[in-house]
């Protein structure tokens, strides 16, 4: 694939046309299989940037292209479908739907995206494999997600983001609720699984100690 996984050019965003731009980013590219560490103080527009990459928001200027497709050219429902097909997300916390079982949570993207479901021959077996690779006790699989510890929940979220091998993986401070030792282990696990799947990774954190694990790093300024 010749297109970069993520190509951002001349990007600017504001909530209302009358406002000043709250996010400006001249250029950023993440190639397939590469990882980007994104850091910056709170208020620097990290969440906004993730919403722009997810296609939930559209930029006021410039463009976000994923896999060669400019998101601005797609309709809202096409962007939703594109997100389901090609992106995996892990958030800071509360990633899981509490009343669904661990397994059902991991399989969610396959329910919304035929492509992700097709990407794996046996979705359930793949979910079990991912959870196992991410070091989750198999006994927990049929438990409701609400019964898991925060660390376990984050690993389930990672499995969900990775299932069906999406080209792009977005992680928004997924380790901030974990203690320091487990942070590094989690990042390593995540990156190695992403490498196996061939996914490009954007990892947002304000913890600069983690930057060393990534191919590139980019600072957002307020």
């Amino acid at each position: 694939m010749s297109h970069p996984a993520i190509a951002i050019s001349n990007l600017a965003f504001r909530w209302r046309p009358a406002d000043a731009f709250c996010l400006e980013l001249a250029n950023a590219t993440v190639n397939a299989g590469k990882s980007l560490f994104l850091h910056g103080p709170s208020g620097s527009g990290k969440s906004t940037l993730l919403n722009l990459i997810g296609g939930v928001l559209l930029p006021a200027r410039g463009s976000v292209s994923l896999l060669g497709q400019s998101l601005g050219e797609l309709s809202a429902s096409r962007r939703d479908a594109f997100r389901a097909d090609h992106l995996g997300f892990i958030f800071q916390q509360f990633n899981l739907i509490p009343y669904l079982s661990v397994l059902d949570n991991v399989l969610l993207p396959c329910r919304f995206s035929a492509r992700r479901a097709r990407g794996v021959s046996e979705p359930e077996a793949e979910a079990r494999r991912l959870l196992n690779a991410l070091d989750l006790d198999p006994a927990l699989l049929s438990r409701p997600a609400a019964e898991l510890s925060v660390g376990q929940q984050q690993r389930v979220a990672a499995a969900r983001a990775l299932i069906g091998q999406p080209e792009i993986l977005i992680a928004d401070e997924p380790t901030s609720a974990l203690d320091a030792e487990r942070q590094a282990a989690f990042v390593e696990l995540l990156l190695s699984e992403a490498k196996q799947a061939g996914s490009a990774v954007v990892f947002v954190s304000h913890d600069l100690r983690l930057a060393a694990h990534f191919d590139h790093s980019l600072a957002l300024t307020a």
Binding site: N51, V56, D80, A81, F91, F94, I97, Y99
Partner: protein
């Protein structure tokens, strides 16, 4: 949308306590609405069929409603009596198939006494043209035989052969009893749910006999004719209160009605029972409309509760909705998720209500029919009820749009990361 249905069900199950209470409220409200609608229909039908198969009710000229009230419901009194000669002459009209004279004015322990002829038991119809049936005994034969309605028998605990005395007028005033001429219960009628159940029926001759030694509504002092002597007198009545007519051809009814109105010898009035009963219902029927209105309000309260619960749940569900957005759900999926839940609760509520109402009608219908004169409660859904159900769903759909719209706005504002 199919994967969402499973998620919606699991999500609803997760909040089953609050939703269950909302479901209970909706079920009760819809049950009330459906019961009122069914009872209203049954009451109306039962009322309109208090007497059926009778083509004309004839009495002294006055208000048609008053005539129906005293002739059918034994409420109030006639302003005037009808001459026996008039009755004879009108009953002899070639269009008339049968006639039943009615003489009112006496009572037995609060129940009205009706003087009539055996033709009454043959021709009187109620409800869906059902004839009177005897649970025991037979029509009166002897002069002092009586036939009592089901309610009289049940309330007073009377059986065949019981000896009863009648009172003059509507109340048991001391000294105004016909105690010297007791009657025997010769027949007991089956329940009809109509005023028939409250009547004590005796022959016209018996009414004449107990008043032989009376004049102007009181016993004549010093005159007492013992019961075994009355046979020596002429017991042909001179007046009656009203009479019922059945015609050979229904089409003759208006011609005969005009003929009775033009009757020379005395001022008479003939009414079509169906029309008069309908008129009467219109005046009583305000109550049913008020009941339906109140049930409508209760349903509105139920829906408001549903909307409130859905809106309140939105805050705790913002993360859930954002997670769904991140795995590819669009705003329309979120709207669907919210609406399907409201509609599911309404659907379940309506289904439960229908079950409750049907079981209640099945179990309690016969009792209600006998007790309150409701025509048999319908087990099936009537067209009026279908309209009501359609209205219920339309209202629920409209109300469900509100939390769904709010969820839509929230999910657009929150994007993938809820700002809590």
């Amino acid at each position: 949308m199919k994967p969402l249905l499973a998620i919606a069900l699991k999500s609803a199950w997760n909040r089953r306590l609050t939703l269950g209470l909302t479901l209970l409220a909706i079920t009760l409200a819809v049950t009330l609405l459906l019961s009122v609608e069914r009872i209203r229909q049954a009451a109306r039908d039962g009322f309109a069929q208090s007497v059926s198969g009778t083509d004309l009710i004839v009495g002294a000229r006055g208000s048609p409603l008053q005539l129906v009230l005293y002739a059918v419901f034994n409420v109030g009194e006639a302003s005037n009596n009808v001459d026996w000669q008039s009755y004879q002459s009108i009953a002899a009209d070639p269009a008339v198939a049968w006639s039943v004279p009615l003489a009112l004015g006496d009572s037995h322990r609060g129940f009205p006494v009706l003087g009539t002829t055996p033709a009454y038991f043959e021709h009187y119809r109620y409800g869906d043209r059902q004839p009177l049936r005897f649970t025991a005994g037979q029509p009166f034969n002897g002069l002092f035989d009586s036939v009592i309605g089901a309610e009289v028998a049940a309330k007073l605990g009377y059986r065949l052969g019981e000896s009863i005395t009648l009172s003059h007028g509507s109340g048991p005033l001391p000294g105004l009893a016909h105690a010297d001429k007791p009657f025997t219960v010769a027949g007991i009628l089956a329940p009809t749910g109509t005023p028939v159940d409250r009547r004590v029926h005796v022959s016209l001759a018996a009414i004449e006999a107990i008043h032989l030694d009376w004049q102007g509504g009181a016993p004549v002092p010093g005159l007492a004719i013992p019961a075994d002597m009355v046979g020596k007198f002429d017991l042909q009545p001179k007046t009656i209160t009203a009479f019922l007519l059945g015609l050979h051809q229904r089409s003759a009814v208006f011609r005969l009605q005009r003929k009775i109105a033009d009757y020379r010898a005395e001022p008479l009035l003939a009414v079509l029972p169906g029309v008069a009963l309908d008129q009467l219902w219109q005046t009583v029927g305000v109550v049913e409309k008020a009941l339906l209105g109140i049930s409508g309000l209760v349903f509105a309260v139920g829906l408001a509760g549903l909307a409130a619960v859905m809106l309140a749940s939105l805050n705790e569900r913002r993360r859930e909705l954002a997670v769904l957005r991140s795995v590819g759900a669009g705003p329309r999926h979120i709207v669907f998720l919210l609406m399907i839940e409201s509609l599911l609760v309404t659907l379940l509520g309506v289904a439960l209500s229908l079950a409750v109402v049907s079981v209640a009608a099945w179990l309690g219908g016969p009792w209600l029919a006998a007790r309150f004169g409701l025509s048999t409660l319908p087990l099936a859904v009537s067209p009026g009820e279908l309209r009501l159900l359609a209205g219920i769903f339309a209202a629920a759909l409209l109300v469900s749009l509100w939390p769904a719209w709010r969820a839509y706005r929230l999910s657009l504002a929150d994007g993938l990361i809820p700002r809590l």
